[in-house]
């Protein structure tokens, strides 16, 4: 990726959002007129724990430049403990991705409750900015899925 | 035979008509995108139908070669691809390549013979091609008997044609049966092999059999009991196929490739092959 292209680069972001918290948080952000970039595509999941590592890799395969996973704050899971498992899984997965040389900043987990519309908006804006600075995802994508 | 110039590259086919035969069988009429037939075939041959992104599979061509206007495929909904095909509307385009394989020897061994067609369920599809071919060349063949059975009256395919064409044709005798009694059904009830024995055909006919493996097995036993020898009985096989030209190795049984050396086999040929077909 050339530096001079960086200005125009708009990263594609996939956000997995828990139905019970961050998805509602995104709603709240909307109704509070807080914006986040349109480059973020939200996929609603019943719990952050539903997100299999394969989901993240598939998103990257198909052209995502960054993947963020949003769930309830630890201790507040709708199903009591789902997000605790998510936390362990993603910690290990992210560490493994970093180990094979994938930029650590392309993946993130954030705990966002239904009341935190502002936090969701901030998080997304920040994530888009971070991934935008990294440039296009080259290390974890399938070239055949590129335009 | 104007096979697609490159054996692995399909042509675009247009589905010009879809007929619901039974709750789970539809007959698709396919034409070339510029109209007319995609290719010429012989009765019993197959073609590869492909829905890009969904899959590709081999289907027997159920229309007769004597049909100058189009090809037809009767397809039972039973897997991913067939489910997708069933969801299509007339006008949809699919990829088609073929025809592949050998055919029932209508121009050789079958000529001048009395023919006995035995079909079960969707197994009528490949035989229908032969039956209509025979009806269109009526003088070349002797008496025709068609024994066709299905689970229920609703599962009999091509009923309109059976009633309006086959039953009316001279020298053609149609025997229908269903597995279990059903309201409104006045015909025979019972499994195909049992009905076959009941009908007790003369043993000088040539039999063409297609249906579920278990039916074929019992039909063969019944025919042998009736005095038929294995070289009087033909069937058509189905195995997983990918290339259609005897190279990819999937439909390999012994020294044969079903897509290329078959799908039509005489039972004495099958007997020589390793026991791995069903």
């Amino acid at each position: 990726m050339q530096i001079d292209h960086k200005e125009e680069f708009r990263p594609k972001i996939v956000a997995f959002c828990c139905n019970w918290c961050s998805y509602a948080g995104a709603d709240l952000a909307g109704s509070s007129r807080l914006s986040y970039p349109a480059d973020v595509k939200i996929i609603r999941v019943p719990c952050s724990c539903r997100v299999n590592p394969m989901f993240l890799l598939r998103a990257f395969e198909r052209g995502a430049d960054g993947v963020i996973l949003c769930g309830c704050h630890p201790g507040d899971c709708h199903y009591s403990t789902g997000n605790y498992y998510t936390r362990r899984r993603m910690t290990l997965l992210f560490s493994l991705l970093e180990f094979i040389g994938v930029e650590r900043e392309r993946v993130r987990v954030e705990w966002v409750s239904a009341a935190e519309g502002a936090k969701l908006s901030e998080t997304m804006n920040d994530f888009v900015k971070t991934v935008g600075a990294l440039g296009r995802n080259i290390r974890l994508g399938d070239l055949r899925c590129r335009n | 035979m104007n096979r697609t110039t490159d054996a692995l590259i399909p042509q675009v086919g247009v589905i010009t008509d879809i007929r619901q035969e039974t709750p789970d069988v539809k007959t698709f009429r396919v034409n070339a995108s510029e109209g007319g037939k995609l290719f010429e075939h012989m009765p019993g041959q197959c073609a590869m139908l492909c829905a890009p992104g969904v899959g590709e599979a081999m289907f027997s061509i159920t229309s007769s070669p004597t049909n100058q206007a189009y090809q037809e495929f009767s397809i039972k909904c039973c897997g991913e691809l067939t489910e997708y095909l069933h969801s299509l509307e007339p006008g949809s385009q699919i990829a088609v390549r073929g025809p592949y394989g050998n055919y029932f020897p209508v121009d050789k061994e079958l000529k001048g013979k009395d023919l006995l067609f035995i079909a079960g369920g969707i197994g009528l599809a490949p035989l229908r091609s032969v039956i209509n071919y025979v009806l269109d060349h009526r003088a070349d063949y002797g008496r025709v008997d068609i024994l066709y059975g299905a689970r229920s009256a609703d599962d009999l395919v091509q009923m309109k044609e059976i009633r309006e064409v086959w039953m009316q044709a001279p020298g053609v005798h149609v025997h229908l049966t269903i597995d279990r009694p059903q309201d409104g059904w006045e015909g025979h009830v019972g499994f195909v092999p049992a009905y076959l024995k009941e009908l007790d055909f003369a043993s000088d006919k040539t039999a063409l059999v297609c249906g579920p493996p278990v039916m074929i097995k019992f039909v063969l036993a019944a025919l042998e009991e009736m005095g038929y020898t294995k070289d009087q009985v033909y069937t058509t096989l189905e195995l997983r196929m990918k290339c259609g030209i005897g190279k990819c190795g999937r439909c390999n049984i012994g020294t044969k490739y079903v897509c290329k050396d078959g799908p039509v086999f005489r039972f004495d040929e099958i007997d020589e092959l390793p026991d791995e077909i069903w």
């Binding site: 052209g63 055949r144 899925c145 590129r146 335009n147 | 096979r3 490159d6 054996a7 692995l8 590259i9 399909p10 042509q11 675009v12 492909c50 890009p52 992104g53 969904v54 899959g55 590709e56 599979a57 039973c78 897997g79 991913e80 691809l81 067939t82 006008g91 949809s92 385009q93 699919i94 990829a95 189905e238 195995l239 997983r240 990918k242 290339c243 030209i245 005897g246 190279k247 990819c248 190795g249 999937r250 439909c251 390999n252 049984i253 012994g254 020294t255 020589e272 390793p274 026991d275 791995e276 077909i277 069903w278």
Partner: protein, 345 residues
């Protein structure tokens, strides 16, 4: 005949790539496989057996056939371009060459496979006689002479020199294009001496006396029904290592991949050892690993020769002998049947 000093090989490769693509054994990640030559490639011609056989050059593990696009209900099918650049596969061994002859029987038979046919037409094979056959080799069993591979060009490495002999028109054309780098040599005696050395060595190989008696179409059902398969297959892991390293295996799968530019229909190597090999909506005619295991060996040793004038679909390269995770291989299968046969007599 010609001669070229091994120090000049680098220049030879450079010269070949002026007009042709060049594939040869290259070391990467510690393993040697056939790959395209680059100036910084670590070429390893002395490697007897690359991990994968060079069949890749003619029948790649992955190959796109065509792309389908649907726009406004209209389907278009665009066939992939066939190979149109000449290329050289350099350093193939006699067994790998035989593998190509096996593939020819399959892919060039009518209706011919156009992708393969195009590659065969564009490809020139430079073979290298085996200076040091390994104990896992058993090519003589299939009538292969590792001292004299029948390629477009054959090389013998003797001391610091490669002796170069061209056999075909393609070989002559290649020779002509690199002639400035070759020096004429009338050393037939030197090569003959080397061939004699190789042949003596081959005779000493422990597996070279394997007998294929009874492996033919006439014994098809007897072999098929043998209870031995039930025992033999038990350690098999059902992986595809043997299939994927084999120079003669040719089964393939055709699949779709949804790309940004439409649905790509590609073919890739498949293994008869895999559980989905014969799976279809209507059922599966080989449901057990025993059946799948049996299919692989029956195909190589019975069905294939029955259909191809006695040519086996095994070349004795010994890759499966070296690579099988559980040390199960075609040699053990053949020997087990021989032992059983002897016990029954």
């Amino acid at each position: 005949m010609y001669r070229i000093n091994s120090r000049q090989m680098e220049m030879l490769f450079r010269k070949i790539t002026e007009e042709r693509e060049l594939y040869l054994p290259v070391k990467a990640g510690g393993q040697v496989n056939f790959a395209a030559w680059t100036a910084d490639a670590e070429v390893s011609l002395d490697t007897l057996k690359t991990v994968k056989s060079p069949k890749d050059a003619f029948f790649p593990q992955f190959e796109s056939l065509y792309t389908c696009r649907t726009q406004e209900g209209k389907l278009t099918i665009e066939a992939e371009k066939r190979k149109d650049r000449p290329f050289v596969v350099f350093g193939m061994k006699a067994c790998d060459l035989k593998g190509i002859q096996v593939l020819d029987q399959v892919f060039l038979k009518e209706p011919a496979d156009s992708c393969y046919a195009a590659r065969r037409e564009k490809g020139t094979i430079v073979a290298l006689a085996c200076a040091a056959p390994e104990t896992s080799c058993f090519c003589p069993v299939f009538g292969i002479d590792p001292a004299a591979p029948e390629a477009d060009v054959c090389l013998w490495k003797i001391g610091e020199a490669y002796y170069w002999k061209s056999y075909t028109e393609k070989g002559a054309a290649l020779t002509k294009s690199v002639e400035p780098l070759l020096e004429a040599a009338e050393d037939d005696a030197v090569v003959e001496k080397e061939q004699a050395r190789i042949r003596t060595m081959v005779k000493k190989l422990p597996l070279s006396s394997l007998s294929l008696e009874g492996w033919d179409g006439a014994h098809m059902n007897e072999k098929f029904e043998s209870p031995l398969w039930e025992q033999l297959h038990r350690p098999c892991l059902a992986c595809g290592t043997c299939t994927f390293v084999c120079p003669a295996c040719q089964c393939y799968d055709i699949r779709d991949y949804k790309t940004a530019a439409g649905v790509q229909r590609y073919r890739c190597w498949d293994s008869c050892m895999y559980s989905d090999f014969t799976l279809m909506a209507a059922g599966n005619n080989r449901t057990t690993q025993m059946q799948r295991f049996r299919q692989r060996f029956m195909h190589k040793l019975v069905y294939f020769p029955a259909n191809n004038d006695g040519m086996y679909s095994c070349t004795g390269c010994g890759r499966c002998v070296e690579k099988c995770p559980v040390s199960l291989n075609i040699v053990k299968v053949i020997k087990a049947f021989a032992k059983e046969g002897a016990a029954n007599e």
